[in-house]
């Protein structure tokens, strides 16, 4: 798709911002999100291509403004919901529960 991800040659995005000696994961949640790839790939039956495409479909402004591993979360949720491993309602309920201090 001719989406926002197709960035080659685009102008106006500014300098390449770098951080010296950055860690593999800036927050613990990033590591968990990363690890969810292998952990879900082995049972859910999606391909890497499908995973990439799910990210490509993120709304353009959100794609540019959200962080890398947030993109992965979009993709996992879409692939898993599509196959019925989890529902939107279950996710929303759990998110609400965790926000209210549940664990």
């Amino acid at each position: 798709m001719n989406g926002i991800h197709d960035l080659g040659g685009m102008h106006g995005l500014g300098p390449v911002l770098r951080e010296d000696n950055e860690p593999a994961f800036h927050e613990p949640w990033e590591g968990r999100a990363f690890a969810l790839f292998a952990s879900t790939f082995v049972f859910a039956g999606y391909t890497v291509d499908e995973f990439r495409h799910a990210i490509e479909k993120i709304a353009p402004a959100h794609y540019l403004e959200s962080s890398y591993y947030e993109h992965w979360m979009f993709a996992f949720e879409e692939a898993l919901m599509k196959r019925g491993f989890v529902t939107r309602e279950e996710l929303d309920a759990r998110i609400a529960q965790l926000k209210n201090g549940g664990h």
Binding site: A38, T47, D49, H53
Partner: protein, 115 residues
């Protein structure tokens, strides 16, 4: 399959190659001039927009791989050859690009036509 810690090292060491052991004839040979197709699917592709309609030279045939455009949508692997194609910077970006600079992009059979 449930991924448990014992399985992790082996899984990582093996990975999941996209190569397909299928006897598919290549559409192009090394040295061929190709023109990238005006391919604009609304679905998944690994053809970057900046290559569309451009002329390039096949530098290397990497062999047969699953085709992302179909594989992303449950439409099968459609195995085909994947090539390293050389494009000059000027071909892609115009006359102000440095004369010697080039790009090498991996292009599938279905992304290109003979010239």
């Amino acid at each position: 399959m449930l991924l448990t810690p014992e399985i992790v090292p082996g899984l990582l060491a093996t990975g999941a190659s996209a190569r397909v052991a299928a006897d598919v004839a290549p559409r192009f040979q090394v040295g061929d001039l190709i023109r990238v197709r005006n391919h604009n699917p609304a679905t998944h592709t690994r053809l970057p927009g900046y290559l569309r309609g451009k002329l390039g030279t096949v530098e290397r045939d990497y062999g047969v791989f699953a085709f992302p455009d179909t594989h992303a949508h449950g439409l099968g692997e459609k195995p085909q050859h994947c090539y390293s194609v050389r494009f000059t910077a000027r071909e892609l970006w115009g006359a102000t690009a440095p004369e010697r600079d080039t790009l090498r992009v991996d292009v599938f059979d279905d992304y290109a036509d003979p010239v």
